[in-house]
Structures are given as C-alpha cells and as structure tokens.
Amino acid sequence: MPDAFAASGLEKRYGRVEALAGVSLQVGEGELVGLLGPNGAGKSTLVKIGCGLVRPSGGRAEVFGRPAGSREARRALGYLAELFRFPGWLRADELLRLHQGLAGSTGGAAERDELLELVGLADVGRRKVDQMSKGMQQRLGIAQAMIGTPRLLVLDEPTSALDPAGRRTVRTLLEELRGRGISVLLNSHLLSEVELVCDRVVIITRGRVVAHGRPDELTQARGVSVETDEGERRFDLGRDEVPELVARLVAEGRRIYGVQVIRSTLEEAYLEAVEGESR
C-alpha cells in the first residue's frame, strides 16, 4: 500500500529564493502528520506541490503512488489553502454544491448538510460567503475540503482564524477522521493543537527537515520531580529509572506524595530544533 503522501528530495526555487532544499516526508495511510516551522520555512510550498499547484524544481511528490498534480492524485485529496477566497456571491451550500460538481461527489444535499453541521455552520447555510466572518469562511473552507470524502486531507493552517471552540471542533474532527482511516497533512503554528492530535510531527526550517518523530519522542523527558516530606526534589533521570528511585527514597525513610516525569513541551523541542538550525 503506497503512502497517502510521499515527498522525496523535494526542491523548489522561486527565482533566487530557495523555498525547499530537499525535503523528504511521508504521510502513511490513516496517519495524521503535523508540519511545523517558522514563517517562510516552506510549509505552504510543500503542500502546494502536493496539490499540484506548484511545480517542484527537483525531487518527487506522490499521492497514493500517483504523481502529485495528476488527475488521480487530485481525485484523492481535499485541500484547504492558507490564503483562499470563495466567490462572495455564492451561498455556503451553493459553494459546497459547486465543489460537489467538480469533485464528482454524489452525496447531494445530505452530504452538504452533514458537512455544514460538522463545522458548525448549519444555521447559516443560506448566507452568502461575502457576508460571513473570516472564521466562518474558514469553517466553510474545511467543509469544502471534505467534499467527496477525500482519502487525504491537506489543511494549511485551518484554524488560524477560528475561535477556541472552533479549534476544539477541528481537533475533534481530525480525531474522527483518523478513526475513519483518512490521512491528514496539517500545517499549523499552534503547537498545542499539533501535539494533541498529530501522530507524527515534522519540523522544517529554511526548506529542510530539522526534526521529526512522534510528539512524545520530540518532547523528551527532562528529569523527574518527586514531592517528599522534605519538599520537592528534582532528579536528572529518565522514566525507566523512576521505580528504583522511589524504592531508594522509601528505603531512606522518605515519605512520597507524588512523582512526575517532566517532559519538555513541544514548544521547547520546536524552538530547539529551529534555533539549532539558524545558529
């Protein structure tokens, strides 16, 4: 089974700007991968290549084994662009209907209603796009991307304009999609969001992958904090050494009220990866 998305040695130059300098990454079937990186790192360029909007200068990109941008590849994916606009004169459900037509979806009104409901726009399905707030348009964009039940969803900062409840909704949605076996490539600056939902995280800086792995791999243990009758004590040990540590402290006659393995946050891991690169 080919990966939902596979990039190998992907390069992109815009004139003298090198947006991607050899990026390789995979999104497995049913996997939810988060793409992190500072502004201008090349995240949007990467996903645009995946959708066939941008032609790579070198390397390969494939969607379910088909060259990115080919008809078969486009048929398999749903895309929400970072900077998108929908025609202002269309009503929300008309926009979805237009995309149903283009995607060849036979879901009809049921699919449109379900998607509007899913993104919390059920009440405003008849409202025109240019009368919707930015966050409402982004919600509509997410619904649009899900038309025709794509096997790979490519979302470029889908929650940048959303209120906290909206972000929560998207998070739940992503978890649900994973449950249905849909693969997701998610660009985001919201580390907490990525940490909460993504199976794997790829961090890129200046067009290069600088770190990747499961969130819990990236957020390494940074010691153990133990609350004892003598107060809180820090030990520079890993998680595996906790049982011996507790046994030793008890043997020494300490009373233990709590033990916590301290992890660096994804933010710390991110900053380390990104700054390590720019130094």
Partner: protein, 283 residues
C-alpha cells in the same frame, strides 16, 4: 465533459448574481433607443430617392448607419468579453479564488475551457443579438435591409470570440488591470491597423497595405468586422457600391476564403497556448 459544464454554469450564474446581465441589458437598451432615434431622424431628413440619381441615398444612409451600429456592437461586445475574462487566471489566482477550484479533479485545462466557453458564448451571443436588433431597427425605420443579413452577425460574433480568446490568454500572465488595458489597446491597434491598410490601398502605399494585412491576420476581429461591413452591401454596385464600401469607420473588405478557417484556428490556438502556459504556472 461535466467539469466544463460545471465551470461554465458557475460563470453564467456569477454574471446573473453580480447583475452583469442586468447592466448589459439596460445600457444596451439605451444604446438601441439612441440608434432608433438616430435612424428615424436620418431617414426622415433624407426624403424619397429620386429615380435618376446616381447614388441611392437610402442604401447609403442605411449602410452607413448599420455600419456604425456594427462598429458600436463590436466595441460593446469587446468590453463585455474583456470584463468577463480579464481576471480569470492571474487575477483570480492572486485573490486565492482559483486554487480551490483547480485542485479538483477536472483540473486547469477544463477550468480554462469552461471559463472561455461561457465568456465566448455570452460575448458572441451579445454581439449577434445587438446586431440583429440594429438590422431590424434600420429596416423598420428606414426601409433598408442589408443585402446579406446573417453573415455580418456571425462575423461580429466571431470577432467577439476572438477578443475573448485574446483576453483569456492575456490573463494567464497579466494581472487584472494590466490585462484589461492591454486587450483594449490591442483592440484599438487592430482597428487602426485595418484603417491604415485601407488608406494604403487608396493611395497605393505598399507599406501601409502590408501593415493592414499583417494586423488583420494577427488580430482578426478587424478583418471580421470589415468582412461584415462588406457583406451588408455585397450586391450593391455602381457609385453607391463604391461609396458604401469605403464604410464609416475603416473600409469594407470582403472575407477571403481563408478568413473563416483562420479565425477558427486562431481561437483554438490562442486558447490552447493559454492552456499550455496556465498548466505550467505556479499558483
């Protein structure tokens, strides 16, 4: 192909929603009312043609007025064609309107074909309709009907389709305003080129004549317009024929046998080139 239909239908619906058709209908109505008034007045002043005259004034007035209406029709349909297409590719891409559509399975070529089809049908249909109205007005108000009534309408419609293709091709690389200006200037250049050709023929200047010939092939909407003018009075001979064939705005030239295939090929090639360039663009 259903993708083309979906895109074309969306384009037409946008025209309705954005009151494009409303504005066109109202203002064209105004133009036709003005034309009716002008035609009535002109024929009223003309009086009855005398049997012994060398020049048939009815033919002269009718052909001149209708020629003028044809010029206005070509200009108006050019405006319609330009405004329906000048932002289609680069302009819409800059706004982020294009990307969600072209990542869908039908893809870029179908998108372009759908937009072209809708715009060409609207602008060509518009040209044909306004021309037909002008013919009827001239006929009813002045009692003069063109020798060849249908062909000039077809030629004007084809001229509008040519402009549509040029504007669409320009929109691949030029942003909205630059493209609008470019196409309207090309339109002017085509007409001026045709005029220079006429002058060249009259004063026997080979240079001017070849400028005219080259522009007619390069921008064939002018050749189509001239061919339409010529067909209006194709059966008229004598001094009247000579005068009317000079035409009100640039002279009338008959369509050579190559004009129709040239125009068809021209439109196809321009749209295909636009497609080829569009497929390669980063969006």
């Amino acid at each position: 192909m259903t993708g083309i239909g979906v895109i074309a239908a969306a384009t037409l619906r946008e025209c309705t929603r954005r009151r494009v058709f409303g504005v066109i209908v109202v203002l064209t109505g105004l133009f036709l009312a003005l034309y009716t008034l002008g035609t009535l007045t002109a024929f009223h002043h003309l009086g009855k043609p005398a049997p012994g005259d060398d020049v048939d004034v009815t033919v002269l007035a009718g052909a001149t007025l209708l020629g003028l209406a044809m010029f206005a029709t070509l200009f108006l349909s050019t405006v319609v064609a330009v405004f329906l297409t000048f932002n289609v590719l680069r302009g819409d891409a800059e706004q982020g309107l294009l990307q969600p559509m072209v990542v869908r399975p039908p893809g870029r070529v179908v998108f372009l074909a759908g937009r072209f089809g809708a715009a060409a049908v609207v602008s060509a249909g518009y040209a044909a309709t306004v021309y037909a109205a002008a013919v009827v007005i001239t006929g009813l108000a002045g009692g003069w009907w063109p020798d060849e009534a249908v062909l000039p309408g077809v030629e004007l419609a084809a001229g509008a389709a040519v402009v549509t293709a040029i504007s669409l091709a320009g929109s691949v690389h030029l942003s909205t305003i630059a493209n609008g200006i470019a196409v309207l200037m090309l339109f002017g250049a085509g007409l001026v080129g045709g005029l220079l050709g006429q002058i060249g023929d009259a004063i026997h200047s080979d240079t001017l004549s070849s400028i005219g010939t080259i522009t007619s092939w390069a921008l064939p909407f002018d050749a189509l317009y001239q061919a339409g003018l010529h067909a209006l009075t194709s059966d008229t001979s004598g001094i009247t024929g000579v005068i009317v064939h000079l035409g009100p705005l640039g002279g009338a030239q008959p369509a050579g046998p190559l004009l129709a295939p040239w125009v068809l090929g021209y439109v196809l090639v321009v749209v295909a080139l636009a497609g080829a360039a569009f497929v390669r663009r980063d969006l």
